[in-house]
Amino acid sequence: MDNLEKKKISRKTLNKSFHYWFYGHLTAFSQEHMQTFGYLTSMLPIVEELYDNKEDQEKAMKTYTAFFNTEPQLGTVIVGVTASLEEARANHGNVDDTTINGLRAGLMGPIAGIGDSLVVGTLIPVILGIALGMSDGGSPLGAIFYIIVWNLLGYFGMRFAYFKGYELGDKAVGILVGAQGKAIRKAIATVGGMVVGGVAATWVTVKTSFKLTNSSGKAYLVLQDKLDSVYPGLLTALFIVLCWWLMAKKNISPIRVMLILVVIALIGVLVGFFNPGLSY
């Protein structure tokens, strides 16, 4: 086969495919087929460009009717990888739909795991944590900061993932789940852990109003002050660890944990441990 006839997806089509994914990955979401339609739509321009006759197009599109679901931001890399595999198939046909689908299916789980913990579990909370501080006192600055920073990172990050995936093809897989990928994730998790600690200490305040008074009404033990002298924010930290323990170790759902907090709050209010000190 001579090189002149080699098919190459144009930059324009790749851009189109990326934008279709960016906008449409979850629009037609259902519990049955999740992101499949987003995937089909974003592969359509590529398939149309690579294959001239209708029959080949239909054959190629059938590949992407298989179930697909992953974390959509990082998952963009998979769409890029399949674009490059589709190009390889159109050129010499030694890539079949089983290969493409096997790779897709094999990647969507790990990428969902990495994406959920990196993007949704670390990156977004870090930006939000910083933004919350800027919005203290009702200022719109933090919200605007979050909108700008996250959208720039999200859009260009996804774009980078798409084109990197296309460029590297199936080699992209090795990088993401390899030793370097693991080290990067661990490093980011350290940032995430510290920032989450900072967010907790800055924004969450659990305080007790429990005090003991002597006969003349003077308080001789203010529990909150004592706790603060031991470790500032001790109660907050304890409640967070309690919630973590209930969810992570006891497998209780967040909604149930919230209900448990309602019960704790009620009992706390009744015995005078909690008192928000309200009045009209």
């Binding site: 979050y146 909108i147 789940v177 600690g197």
Partner: protein, 287 residues
Amino acid sequence: MTISWVQASILGIFASLSSMPGMAGSTIGNYTLGRPLVGGLVCGLVLGDLKTGIAAGVAMQLVYIALVTPGGTVSADLRAVSYIGIPLAMVAIHAQGLSATSGNAADLAKSMGTLVGTVGTVLFYGTATMNLVWQHIGWRAVEKGQFKKLYLVDWGLPWISHFFFSFIPTLFMTHFGSSAVTALKTALPMDGIPMKTLFTVGALLPCVGIAILLKQIVDSPLDFIPFFVGFTFAASLGLNLVSVTVVSLIFAMISYKLDMAISTNRQVASPVSNTSMIADDEEDEDI
């Protein structure tokens, strides 16, 4: 404070754009417009009280700081929190005569928002179920080779699902909910047990949001250390979050260098190293 039909409709449109099967791409929709912090800005602008809107949004953002929806399972959908919960919380804060930036206003917002958050779950599954109809049309189109129809199925028809499960509920709940919330003031006195409990719950709820984040980061007890280091920096030393982030970068750098050094050593020691590594946190719980 009341919410007019026009205001309620605008909130309805934002709810449609921001829900999980997002109508603006999940980057812009779910992860930007859907975040309570941004929702607070939008609600503040729409209802003409930016300060209360932002304050309520900030408070609620903490509870939902880590909304992860692995495999499309949700227990709360933020369209309801951001565009039904925040407006109603704003009405409640006004009705109770609380100062917008006070801690009590924040606690009230958290409780109200979380209450409405569960409504979002119903809306989420409603939208996803209705989308099955459009997918059905899509499958028929694919079978017949009418691929152009995919654009309609993926971009156009889901708006109908959102009209029924995002726009309409937001429209009615914000418009009629506001008078109900105002009426609550007379029914429940501030110094009574129910209100005291409500406010206390508001203060406790963010612990759940933070704990969900921790669940993603903490595998072994040692992983708690970065969290407590960050906590101590902010609580005892009074560092703000940008400073905490900057300090954390040095630890991240050390961690990366160490890991890379270890893995290079290992590769030298045993050339047949297994580099495949699969994240074990796929099954992360959502909120």
